[in-house]
């Protein structure tokens, strides 16, 4: 059995400590500029990683993160395994929390306008992303074999909307409870669900391991698992929560059980050939949907995951990727053009067909073009699976940053017209 030795333990704990402290400091700094803390956490990673610390103070970088500085010795450095496990658990928990935000009843309540906005704001970006990669495959360094899958993946990234970011913008602008606000939120929720389902299929398509399942098996499994969890599973959770919340110690009892079910769901989807994140995401939807889940419990789960585990993942992005070497301005510009044109247009068309007025539909279009955490997770998983390279990943991160900075002023401009 591989164990962490004395020195490994010190390195592991120092890495974690540095990651968490730097992440918090930069999150607070970014908060002063009214920017999401996730951006601060990524910047903290860039500063601690090969781009800055590794470049200017290589000895410090090697001491603090030897498993990153010397990847060739990865197999002999057990810290790498420990860190990898921590990052994986963080992503699974992040997806669980992301799932908790999806409220399917809200989508059903919004009806036609949410459905048409979802449909067009997914269809057009996926088509544009796909065609964009076909047009300049060299820019995405996609080989002939995987150009279609890369195109499809880029389309999915362009189609997703950052729910928490746009929710906060809408709340701050007092638009949340308006028809525009509800259309945006309901559509973004449905897109999240569909986006992760599609991405899971993409991941299973590029899986070249021996345990790979057939596409039809994967699709049937996803439908059965999702169908069960979102109907019977969510009802069971809803009915048992009042009992758990009164009989078990609070909030510890719910916190432990919810994360336990999340990990079981993740393990189940992994075992049937779908990525573990989908299981966590769907279990999150089933949990978050419960009307019996106390607001305070929900808040504690959010606080726990977003302030302890999320920073580990987001800082690790900057640690593993050299943002300076992989900064390709042409690719970034091209991706920004694809994203802004396709998402704004797609959501606008969908909202118009759904019955919104022209100005309101433009507001929906602009707001839906807010990208965030999920796109970064998508990108990092795709990079880990070998679907995209580091340049494309850096371009996705830049797209997220630019869209977060621009969406609020653009939305204000349209709404105040």
């Amino acid at each position: 059995m591989v164990k962490l030795g004395h020195h490994d333990m010190i390195v592991f704990l120092m890495s974690l400590g540095a990651i968490l402290i730097f992440a918090r400091l930069f999150a607070e700094l970014f908060k002063q500029f009214k920017l999401p803390s996730v951006l601060g956490e990524i910047v903290a990673g860039v500063l601690l990683g090969p781009s800055v610390l590794g470049f200017f103070w290589p000895e410090s970088f090697e001491y603090l993160f030897p498993y990153i500085a010397h990847p060739e010795f990865t197999s002999t450095i057990p810290v790498q395994y420990a860190m990898d496990a921590m990052i994986n658990i963080s992503v699974i928990m992040l997806l669980f929390v992301a799932g908790m935000e999806v409220q399917l009843p809200l989508v059903i309540e919004q009806g036609k306008v949410a459905l048409s906005t979802t449909f067009f704001s997914m269809l057009i970006p996926i088509a544009v992303g796909y065609l964009g990669v076909q047009l300049v495959p060299d820019l995405f360094l996609a080989s002939n074999e995987d150009v279609s899958i890369v195109g499809f993946f880029i389309g999915v990234v362009l189609s997703i909307t950052a729910l928490p970011v746009i929710a906060r913008i809408l709340m701050d602008m007092k638009l949340f409870k308006t028809r525009i606000g509800m259309t945006i939120i309901a559509s973004a929720m449905l897109i999240d669900l569909l986006g992760w389902l599609i991405f899971s299929v993409i991941l299973s398509m590029i899986d070249e391991s021996e345990s790979r399942m057939s596409l039809s098996y994967t699709l049937i499994s996803i439908v059965l698992f999702g169908g069960f969890m979102l109907t019977i599973g969510s009802r069971l959770i809803d009915k048992s929560l009042p009992w758990v919340q009164t009989k078990f110690s609070w909030p510890g009892g719910v916190l432990t059980l919810s994360l336990g079910i999340c990990f079981l769901g993740a393990a189940f989807t992994e075992s049937i050939g779908i990525h573990s994140i989908l299981g966590a995401f769907i279990v999150g939807i089933a949990f978050g949907d419960s009307a019996n889940l106390r607001d305070r419990t929900r808040e504690i789960i959010h606080q726990f995951v977003t302030n302890v585990f999320a920073p580990i993942f987001f800082v690790s992005i900057g640690l593993y990727v050299n943002f300076v070497d992989n900064f390709n301005p042409y690719l970034i510009a091209f991706l920004l053009i694809l994203a802004y044109s396709s998402k704004i247009l797609g959501a606008h068309v969908g909202a118009r067909i759904g019955g919104l007025k022209k100005r309101d539909a433009w507001a929906v279009g602009v707001a839906m073009n807010t990208h965030g955490v999920l796109e970064i997770i998508l990108g990092s998983l795709a990079m880990a699976a070998g679907l995209i390279n580091e340049e494309v990943f850096v371009a996705i991160v830049v797209l997220v940053v630019v869209s977060i900075i621009t969406s609020a002023p653009m939305l204000k401009r349209i709404v105040n017209k």
């Binding site: 970014f30 809200l106 928490p164 929710a167 906060r168 709340m171 607001d295 808040e299 959010h302 977003t306």
Partner: protein, 294 residues
């Protein structure tokens, strides 16, 4: 004036025509007595709707039951019509311009009943007039002393509050709770990573202030609002579910809510929201106010 226009131009109150759906279940007398009490109090004509063909004995039974409630024959009418139960009751209500339909209902349904749908629930999900569901009809009906009305963020809410004030005045209720159900689905995640407790609390208290101001503005426009004791509350949670929890804790005699925005179907039962939470387990008598064309 054609029927559609007549219905569209009619406010949900006063209750001038009250209907009751009749079956010969063990509770039918109690349900009729509840409807008869309302008919007397609100000076409304009482319509007894029976789906099927009534025999002479059955009709006489119904007449005896209504007569025992001291309602003169000119103030009530028995209608027996054939057809599908739900659509027939709804058609009769429309033709007679019924203001309030009284239905006896189970407090809780079994899982199968919930998904298949019982008559009272089916009507509640699709009706075009106000519905009063009575889960525990009494042989000696009681007045509605404690009334709760749900005030969600909807264009229908002012009329529902006005209806609640009308009912509370007619019933001489001791207290009327106007409960704002505030639901901000993304609140925790939107502010989870970058807000202090103080900031979150201040945002929440801003919401509460806004809600109370909105309700006060509505009350200013409703005549009769000043003659009853009104208590305002703001609760956070999913609409329908949070008011159900509130009603269970306050144990009112009557709860008033908005009618659904659209007819509710199986998807709404699979992914419940608003009225579906209440229909799942009725906390007390439930009046679903239909705002008609307004």
């Amino acid at each position: 004036m054609n029927l559609a226009k007549q219905l569209k131009d009619r406010l949900p109150y006063p209750f001038e025509i009250i209907a009751v759906a009749v079956t010969f279940s063990p509770r039918y007398k109690a349900v009729i007595r509840e409807a008869a009490r309302l008919s007397r109090l609100y000076r409304a004509k009482l319509l007894l709707i029976y789906v099927g063909e009534l025999t002479h004995e059955e009709k006489a039974k119904l007449e005896r039951c209504v007569d025992a409630c001291h309602i003169k024959s000119k103030y009530y009418q028995i209608v027996d019509v054939q057809g599908d139960v739900v659509s027939t009751i709804m058609r009769v209500c429309k033709e007679h311009v019924v203001d309030l339909l009284v239905l006896g209902a189970l407090k809780k349904e079994t899982v199968l009943q919930h998904y298949v749908g019982t008559i009272a629930r089916k009507i509640s999900r699709t009706a075009k007039c106000s519905i009063l569901l009575i889960p525990d009809p009494k042989e000696r009906p009681l007045t509605f002393d404690r009334v709760v009305v749900s005030a969600v963020d909807s264009a229908k809410t002012p009329l529902t509050i006005a209806s609640a004030i009308y009912v509370a005045n007619m019933e001489d209720a001791q207290e009327l709770f106007i409960v704002n159900e505030e639901y901000i689905p993304m609140f925790e995640s939107a502010y989870a990573d970058s807000s202090t407790d103080e900031e979150i609390e201040s945002r929440k208290s801003d919401f509460i202030k806004e809600c109370k101001t909105k309700v006060s503005a509505i009350l200013d426009d409703i005549p009769g609002a000043s003659s009853i004791t009104i208590k305002q509350r703001v609760i956070f949670g999913k609409p329908g579910h949070s008011i159900q929890v509130f009603a269970k804790s306050k144990n009112p005699d009557l709860l008033l809510v908005n009618s659904p925005k659209k007819s509710l179907g199986i998807l709404d039962r699979l992914f419940p929201h608003d009225l579906e939470y209440l229909l799942e387990d009725l906390p007390c008598n439930l009046l679903i106010v239909h705002s008609r064309g307004f």
